[in-house]
């Protein structure tokens, strides 16, 4: 019996029912359950099938009385917001920075290649290999092949940071949306729920 009432209390608290109203409902419920028990009855005699579903019963009762309110403030919400803002700013700066580095890197690479090609001039030294790749002589005459022209070889870290930043911002956006829309959906549902017998 106490477990049932305790479970109801938890549900009322979750639904934002004020303490005085929750105490009143709990006291009435406890008194009725105790009276039924004293008469040799069971909780089902008082609550019917609702005796097996305290949370639904509590929500139905509170909804019918119109005593549900905003949910109690989450202790961690105060800290979650600044952390979320800081994360968003960090990821934004990271994404922008990485994108900027890639853009600048690509432009400077092109300039450098053009300069080096002009300086190298005709001869055995080939600056550009097949597919736009760079071929420069190595220490023992072996060619060293790079892919700087695509920017991948020059700034792999920037690419990783860019992707991580975009993905992180996406995850934050999803988390923010779900946090914002969750209680709103529930509240709308509660408001439209027709108080039922059960």
């Amino acid at each position: 019996m106490n477990e049932f009432v305790d479970e109801c209390r938890r549900e009322w608290r979750r639904l934002g029912v004020s303490d005085p109203v929750a105490n009143e409902m709990a006291a009435d419920l406890t008194a009725d359950l105790e009276e039924a028990e004293a008469e040799g009855g069971s909780p089902e005699d008082v609550l019917g099938n609702s005796a097996f579903d305290p949370r639904r019963f509590a929500a139905s009762w509170a909804g019918a009385r119109g005593v549900t309110g905003p949910p109690p403030p989450d202790r961690q919400s105060f800290w979650r917001l600044p952390v979320a803002i800081a994360l968003t700013v960090l990821l934004g700066v990271l994404t922008l920075g990485a994108g900027l580095v890639l853009l600048v890197g690509r432009a400077s690479s092109s300039i450098a290649f053009a300069t080096r090609r002009i300086m190298a001039g005709p001869g055995p030294l080939r600056i550009f290999g097949p597919g736009g790749r760079i071929v420069v002589p190595g220490p023992r005459g072996l060619p060293i092949v790079g892919t700087q022209i695509t920017g991948v070889g020059v700034h792999p870290v920037a690419w990783v940071l860019l992707i991580a930043g975009v993905v992180g911002l996406g995850v934050l956006a999803v988390l923010y949306w779900s946090r914002w829309s969750g209680p709103r959906r529930y509240r709308r549902h509660e408001g439209s729920r027709t108080p039922s017998w059960n």
Binding site: A31, A36, W61, P195, W197, N198
Partner: protein, 117 residues
């Protein structure tokens, strides 16, 4: 058997508020007391569900008035009684129920006449 109970439960669901207002008309009562009054009038299927949400709705709609008073040696209870608006709602509901019941009786009476030898 199960179907019959289900049908009865559905039928009662539509008029349980009227039944509660009616037993309140006999005098103020708290939640479980009303359950017992209903059971005493043969509405044992009230055990299929709880009357508390319904009482909450009646209170919210202003059809009942409440006061907290000591019960017989027990803790203070919340007593429900009819408000003037509740009395009017009860009268209107009873008329509506009687009209519906007569119409249903008329329809079912025809079926019974055909089935009976």
């Amino acid at each position: 058997m199960g179907n019959n109970e289900g049908r009865r439960s559905q039928l009662l669901r539509g008029v349980l508020d009227l039944c509660l207002l009616a037993v309140m008309g006999e005098g103020p009562a708290y939640g479980y007391e009303m359950t017992k009054r209903l059971r005493g009038r043969g509405l044992s299927t009230v055990g299929e569900g709880s009357i508390y949400p319904l009482l909450g709705r009646l209170e919210r709609d202003g059809l009942v008035e409440t006061r907290r008073a000591a019960s017989n040696g027990g803790p203070p209870r919340k007593y429900y009684s009819l408000s003037p608006e509740g009395e009017r709602a009860l009268e209107a509901g009873v008329s509506e129920w009687q009209a519906t019941r007569d119409a249903v009786d008329g329809a079912l009476g025809l079926v019974k006449a055909e089935v009976s030898p």
